[in-house]
Symmetry: C2
């Protein structure tokens, strides 16, 4: 048995970046004390979800990666001997920014970054204005405790994201996200959307025979109510841990990597993939 | 509103092919009377699930497609003005057979066939012995009532199957299947496997913004208990119809194709696919 405890930090908007950093440091200390080895934040954890409007001044919120933020949390990772996944707004060049996750190993080493590949654009989620689509592809990172992959928010709807990450060997896929219901939409629609969000991601874990962890915000920011529900599902798509819809909390799950391998031997989906017949995936649509 | 009622014929092993054909004719008459416009059988409906052992004599069970079976059911389709999806064992040449679905339009026209692309092989499901992997690719068929796609059983675990079918325009994806628990496995494992089976397929409907219908057997055949649960889910992955785990029955659902388009405009997943970054899908694994 090879059990790895992971922790998802489900938090709400904080009054400042410094307050968010400080709150995360406290959460990491607590999670580490509770045995967590890999700790992941929600999407864009240092700030409010700022993509509600299209405002050039908000590019000021971006941070360089690596840079002061990752340096600060490298020290924290090392102190507690934990792997950290930080979801950040990345400044790359003037007018060129990404929605990026930074991965820091348990010894404080900066392992690399993943840049969100699929960028949404709809009222209240004006992301194509801010985020250049990722150019690093889908990736995995060999950490001290497990081989992990990270995808971000809108990526979660695309089976290709999870598949490509799993084909690179990810045992656990993390997905920081910021998803909720805008005030203009009825509550029943929000409930359906949340259900769809759960269904598609639990599907990824089954299709790829791996663990999958989604980390979402809670709280209402300028009319958008984030639905929390940060969860971990196993390779049956069964949610083995799930947070509330409205509370700041840390969600824990134990991932049994030996059980995962046993399962994959019985249902060896990767064995039978028809790689000779998937060319059409590279096309927009088959007219 | 464009509502199409579909019907899934969840049946058990019959004493002969003739009995199975006759039972299906009765089911089609009943479903048509209840307003169904597209009717789908479980996998390999004319026979027991014969892949429990590897026996060359069992190739005698195969039928030519098109051939006498499709000719017989073309008459039935025409009589009731319904689209039929028949899951059959296809004889192609000596020692060359496929697991195939035949699609017949409401005027009796044979529209074509889909050959199962992903073939399993594990104790009690010795399919690689019988079925040559499909060579027709993933397909859709424009029927009188809707544009439909068909995948078969083991295909159901592969997001690529549903994706490629949806990219060809499928509004409803049908999946005849024969899945259950072998006697050697504990009931708890069977329950988990059934849950995984539901989860991954409901995920397909979300990811592709379409309806999805799975049609399974019931009953116990030589120790294998098929778990029924034929279901239809909508584009939220919500099961809008679901059959029992153990009864022969017809499962009905109404598919609202206008609501499906409305939904896709709001969540336009196909708009943002990173077709520049999916090359790795064509590889077995990324070592």
């Amino acid at each position: 048995m090879k059990n790895i405890r992971i922790a998802l930090v489900q938090d709400a908007e904080r009054e400042s970046k410094e307050a968010a950093f400080s709150a995360l440091e406290n959460s990491i200390a607590q999670a580490a004390q509770n045995g967590a080895k890999i700790i992941c934040t929600q999407e864009l954890f240092p700030t409010p979800y700022f993509c509600r409007t299209q405002d050039p001044d908000l590019f000021d919120l971006a941070d360089e990666i690596p840079g002061p933020v990752t340096e600060r949390f490298s020290e924290v990772a090392k102190k507690y001997n934990v792997v950290l996944i930080l979801s950040l707004f990345e400044k790359r060049a003037p007018g060129l920014a990404h929605n990026t996750a930074a991965i820091i190993d348990a010894d404080g080493t900066f392992l690399g970054k993943y840049r969100k590949m699929h960028i949404p654009q709809d009222p209240g989620f004006e992301e194509k204005f801010y985020f250049t689509p990722g150019d690093l592809g889908f990736k995995t990172f060999q950490t001290k405790y497990a081989k992990i992959g990270v995808i971000i928010c809108w990526d979660q709807w695309y089976p290709e994201s999870a598949r490509l990450t799993a084909l690179s060997g990810a045992e656990i896929i993390f997905c920081p996200t910021a998803i909720g219901r805008i005030a203009a939409e009825p509550a029943e629609l929000g409930a359906l959307q949340r259900e769809a969000w759960l269904n598609v991601q639990c599907g990824h874990s089954v299709a790829n025979g791996c663990y999958y962890a989604a980390v979402n915000r809670v709280g209402t920011e300028a009319g958008t109510t984030f639905w929390g529900t940060s969860f971990v599902c196993d390779f049956y798509g069964r949610r083995i841990a799930e947070g509330s819809q409205d509370k700041q909390e840390i969600v824990y799950a134990d991932c049994d990597l030996k059980a995962m391998e046993d399962h994959r031997r019985m249902w060896p989906f990767f064995r039978d993939r028809r790689i000779d017949a998937y060319n059409g995936i590279m096309e927009r649509f088959h007219d």
